[in-house]
């Protein structure tokens, strides 16, 4: 890849308290690329995403998004168009409506009404069911629909890189399928994705490359084809 990657991480260490959960992580996501971070519970995948968003107080190393060094920026500055996250547990603003949740995602674009409306239309285009439910309190939605709102809220800030933390967790097979199709559609629209997953099948369907993480370190990098053609056993070695 000749051009600069959308997301570039080098020598990242991050954690809470006295111990680093994540040590010396290096990874990159190119423009329009989708990359997965696989690994067992407690491997530090979520911490990597949180460190990119600036949600981990203690982080060292280089994090660059679209050429901007964000490793010293506060979260709310990173969230203004550089990175956006659909976090673990979705974390919607449950006492607000679907549309309010989405509009809050476009907080930094509040003076640009036209762009906000275009983005909103594109989210409803991606998830037509949300348009029908737009005035509903988000706590009334099913798990799958809540995940759609979380992804929609992330899209609304029109970020350089989208971070998705286990979007398939605790969803029915049908809902997982919808979420996967949505991610594929995002890829078609040219989005760059960093996906944290435990489900290998979801990751291989969506992503170009996969990093394997265990114990806070990236231990391997592979292509989905490797896994499909029998690499599963290698992967199982890491994932247990």
């Amino acid at each position: 890849m000749s051009e600069q990657p959308t997301l570039e991480i080098n020598a990242l260490s991050a954690g809470y308290g006295r111990f680093d959960v994540v040590r010396d992580v290096a990874l990159s996501v190119g423009k329009g690329e989708a990359v997965a971070l696989l690994g067992p519970n407690g491997a530090g995948k979520t911490t990597v995403l949180r460190a990119i968003m600036g949600l981990v107080k203690q982080r060292r190393g280089l994090i660059r998004i679209g050429g901007t060094d964000v490793s010293a920026l506060p979260t709310h500055r990173i969230a203004r168009g550089l990175a956006a996250i659909a976090p673990e547990g979705r974390r919607l603003f449950l006492d607000q409506s679907v549309e309010d949740n989405l509009l809050l995602g476009a907080l930094h674009l509040r003076h640009d009404k036209a762009r906000t409306q275009t983005l909103l239309a594109s989210v409803y285009d991606l998830f037509p069911v949300l348009k029908a439910y737009r005035q509903r309190l988000s706590s009334f939605l099913s798990g799958g629909e809540q995940q759609m709102v979380a992804i929609g809220r992330m899209l609304m800030s029109d970020p350089e890189i989208m971070l998705l933390d286990e979007p398939s967790v605790a969803l029915s097979p049908v809902a997982v399928d919808i979420v996967v199709k949505a991610m594929l559609e995002l890829r078609k629209r040219g989005a760059s994705l960093l996906l944290v997953e435990q489900r290998t099948d979801v990751a291989t369907r969506v992503c170009d490359r996969l990093y394997v993480m265990t114990h806070g370190e990236i231990v391997d990098e592979m292509k989905p084809e490797t896994i499909r053609s029998g690499g599963m056993s290698i992967l199982n070695k890491y994932l247990g």
């Binding site: 506060p74 709310h76 969230a79 603003f93 995602g105 907080l107 800030s157």
Partner: protein, 299 residues
């Protein structure tokens, strides 16, 4: 009967405003600002001082509100933010906001002396007979202002982007910052608004109590009770309902039991309410008044 209900509503709307002020800052930061009563006192003292030195009352009142706004923001910067940064769940804020209250109160006593001073009458002297009862224009003004401020707060909270952002920050500050909100600014604005609410309460009650540096203690306590009775820790507007209930209880006790009863009767009410519904009468956890909302699904 009608008389004590009306005057109860009038004084209750003052308590409700202070309760709402407490609740607004609690809503965003999850701490109770024990200096809230002092913010009200600052407005009263500054207004009285400026009015007595010849400035027009409206200008004095505006200056008073501005001062309590500044002191309110200072209370956040000095007494609240350092605590929140170190540990969100420790009770250090109890000590630091109380310390801030002590500073403000005694600074006022040092500057203006401990005795009461005259407060400019705003609408005193006029009174309106309603049914068999009498309501002064001052009381009517308090009721109307409180109603407007309470309704205004709800409208802003529900229908403006800033209000929605405030709700988002209250519900999940970390996620709010992850959608681009500067939560520090949101908190500062919340403290400024709460200082203005407390200050307006001071302007409304000033003509009856006069200007005294120790005003903040009494009214801060009543505002706190209003918030607790109503359940303002979950919804600021509930503090207004709590305030009205408190006012009517206090005036009712005075009228029906004896003239001292307003000192203790509200507390009995408070204890009874907290036994029945520990988070307040109009809180979301009270089964009687549960607003429509479905429990959070596990995710």
């Amino acid at each position: 009967m009608l008389q004590f209900v009306l005057s109860g509503v009038a004084i209750g709307s003052i308590y409700g405003l202070i309760g709402m002020a407490l609740a607004i800052s609690f809503y965003v930061t999850r701490i109770i600002n024990f200096a809230q009563g002092e913010l009200m006192m600052v407005t009263v003292m500054v207004t009285a001082e400026l009015a007595s030195s010849g400035y027009p009352v409206w200008l004095a009142a505006l200056a008073g509100l501005a001062c309590s706004c500044i002191v309110g923001i200072l209370s956040y910067v000095i007494a609240v933010r350092p605590i929140l940064l170190s540990n969100r769940f420790s009770f250090g804020w109890l000590v630091s906001t109380l310390g801030f209250a002590v500073i403000v109160e005694n600074a006022a006593a040092y500057i203006w002396g401990p005795t009461s001073q005259a407060f400019p009458p705003i609408l005193n002297g006029i009174s309106l007979p309603i049914g068999g009862a009498v309501l002064t224009a001052q009381q009517l003004l308090a009721i109307v202002t409180a109603a407007v401020l309470a309704a205004g707060f709800e409208i802003v909270r529900r229908y403006t982007l800033f209000g929605k952002l405030g709700m988002a920050t209250a519900a999940d500050p970390e996620m709010a910052s992850a959608i681009g909100a500067n939560t520090t600014i949101v908190a500062i604005v919340a403290f400024a608004i709460s200082a203005i609410y407390a200050g307006i309460a001071g302007l409304l009650i000033g003509p009856s109590t006069f200007a005294n540096p120790y005003l903040g203690d009494t009214f801060g306590t009543y505002g706190f009770i209003a918030m607790m009775i109503g359940g303002g820790t979950e919804r600021p507007i509930a503090a207004m309902f709590g305030g009205l209930l408190l006012g009517v209880c206090a005036e009712g006790a005075n009228a029906l039991i004896n003239s001292q009863a307003s000192d203790w009767f509200p507390f009995i009410v408070l204890v009874l309410i907290l036994i029945v519904s520990p988070k307040g009468l109009f809180s979301t956890s009270n089964p009687l008044f549960r607003p429509r909302r479905v429990a959070v699904t596990r995710g």
